[in-house]
Amino acid sequence: MTAMLSGRRPPRLVVKTLAVTFMTVFVLLAVVFVVVTFSVREQVRQAVTTSLESSQRMFAALEARRQRELVAQAGTLAENPTLKAALDTYQTEARTGNSAVKAQLLATIDSELTKVAARVEADAIVLVDMRQNTLAAAGRLGDRWPRGQPVALAADRDGGSFDGIARTNNETFRVVAVPLDFSDGTTVGMLYLATSLDANYAQELAQLAGTRTAIISDGLLLASTLAPEAAREFEAAVAATRPAEGTMSLAGESHAYRRLVAVGDTVFYALGSIDESSLSAMRQSMRNLAFIAIGAIVLALVGSITLARLVAEPIGQLSGAIARMAATRDVTLPLPSGGSSREVDALIETFSALMASLAQAEAETEAAYTGAIRALAAALDARDPYTAGHSERVSVLSVAIGRRLSLPPGDLEVLRLGALLHDIGKIGVPDDVLRKPGPLTDEEFDTIKQHPVLGARILRSVPFLARHIVIVELHHERPDGRGYPNGLRGNEIPLAARIVHVADAYDAITSARAYRRARPSGDALRELWRCAGTEFHAEIVGALATALPGVTSDSAHAHALESVSHA
């Protein structure tokens, strides 16, 4: 109602249901999105932490085995008799100082060490004498261990282990150390299998642990597989405290880290980027969510359209039926059967009841009107004894003619009432003119000629009789244009008016007047035929002629009319 007042049509029902369902779906999706985002991030954080944890366990196991193997390998290497003999002899000779022999012994040691180095994977194999100085070194990075340089081994906390860290020439090595000893308990030196803690080692470690790695030694980052910026931040955050595990933001990315193993002052860390891992997981769940969203939208679409149709279709049918009803002014037209929903059924039922009562009220009103009009017509006819029953007869005749011409029932009904009222305007014609036995003066005839217009004016005040006015107003028009009041010609005259004109003339001829006797039906028809085409429409006269045998008879004129009116 308000929409109509503001000049805008309200939206269609389907638009509204779509809007409501889509709103619901979007709110639902938004909530799911938020929940999924948070839960995925949390899950990924846990997954990364768990994977680091398992990495650590696995790495610890692998590392322990690796160290055991290295120690075993070193132990086997340390049993090289030539190496031991040369070392022991060299250290004995060092006191007496025969340089030629010492040089030869060193050469023996170097040669043995080189042979040994070829059999191990260590970056350097180093022989350390009893004074903890480097005596000889071989291997890829053997040159980092110059002869005579003191070596300090930062051993692990449990002193029994041979796992330690040694620094030389700014390079840090992880060292497995075994003593070179004899069965009498004499130890003559140590053999180091040294692995450089450089980028290669970090890389290997990363592959072994399946994560990123960083090696922190003595407060400094030795090597890592992190990006340089992240590595710097990690060094700054971790080097001093060396925490066992945690999470931190490195170069803007959230990382989880865990201490893999600590040897002396050196700690090996495994790191995992939570953001990076959650990115793929997030992408996956977003893809799933997109599928769900598409499904939900399609479902919402189908659902709301179905819903709208469910509601709109019966209502549309109902409104269509009502529109037809309004167009035809026929409240008895059938309404849709319903059955779609209780509410629509109730609506139809109520509307039907309303229509029924409306139709009844209308019928009652019509009946009352008709009754009143009939009484009026009868009263009019009763002013002149010669015209008694005239309106009633014209009405019956007109309906009979209309029926011959196959008029629809609505038109017949209009014709019946219109014909009944056709002379209503004579109320305004004085009795002395109307009942004058003699011929009328021109002035008197003019007064008589006023009655169609007068009648029309009277009927105009009754809306219900709008369609009957033409009959009243134009029932004296003639095809040749010499009729009154408008002088219309031929087809300009409405059919109902033509019919009533003919019926009126016929009844006038067959009724007695003060100045003449009633003439028989045949005379009347002959008279009408004579004037057909000029005064009367021929097809109407024809229709009258075919209708009459069933309408009138000389003996029981009134009775015949009665039967026609009931037909």
Partner: protein, 228 residues
């Protein structure tokens, strides 16, 4: 090393000065005792993480560490002829027995193999560099040591086997008794440096004055841990 020796030397000198004189033969002697003290300095090396190769049940350790000490006079110009002797260094239970041997220059050492396995004897020392090849049980090889010095002996098959032969160019040496007591007889009078030698600590010295017909007493302290 010297820091521990100096007060000891002073003490010994005081004792010798206070000693009463007596009737004297041509020569004097040096008697004394070697004491093994625990290591005072140095880095303790970690014990082996990897068990050394299994060695027979023979109680090698029953031989006191003191028997691996040699006491001798340092830098003695001995003019007399050195009687060549023959010593024996057996190979038994994958061990050289004895672990330390002292001989005069020109002596021959036999290396009999008493183990049911092959052994080898070799040395890389400047005093004697040799390789006696592998030989089985029951066989013995010998080597003569014409040059004074420390000769380290090893087995090329068993890397844990080692022995030391001190080749001296004078007869004034002795391996102490298990209680540490020793006596070096028939020493011409004069000032000497007495050395207690152990392969792990090298020489520990003490000055001594040998007087005719008298026994100069000296006490040597070696920072060697006795396994027992």
């Amino acid at each position: 090393m010297r820091r521990t020796a100096s007060p000891l030397v002073t003490l010994l000198a005081l004792i010798l000065i206070a000693a009463p004189g007596g009737q004297a033969p041509e020569t004097g002697s040096v008697t004394g005792r070697v004491k093994l003290t625990t290591r005072l300095r140095g880095t303790a090396l970690p014990s082996t993480a990897y068990p050394t190769r299994a060695i027979g049940t023979h109680d090698n350790q029953a031989i006191s560490e003191i028997r691996n000490v040699v006491v001798y006079l340092k830098d003695v110009a001995y003019r007399g002829a050195l009687a060549p002797t023959t010593a024996e260094l057996r190979q038994e239970h994958e061990t050289f027995l004895p672990h330390v041997l002292a001989v005069t220059r020109g002596s021959t050492v036999d290396f009999p193999n008493d183990d049911p396995i092959f052994h080898n004897v070799f040395s890389l020392s400047s005093a004697a560099s040799f390789d006696l090849r592998r030989y089985p049980r029951g066989q013995s090889r010998s080597w003569q040591f014409p040059k004074a010095g420390i000769v380290k002996i090893y087995c090329h098959i068993h890397s844990h086997m080692s022995a030391t032969i001190l080749v001296l160019d004078h007869p004034y040496f002795i391996i102490p008794q298990t209680d540490g007591a020793f006596e070096l007889p028939n020493i011409p009078p004069g000032e000497y440096t007495v050395v207690g030698w152990h392969e792990r600590v090298g020489e520990r010295r003490a000055s001594v004055r040998v007087e005719r017909g008298r026994a100069a007493s000296v006490e040597l302290s070696l920072p060697v841990e006795d396994p027992k």
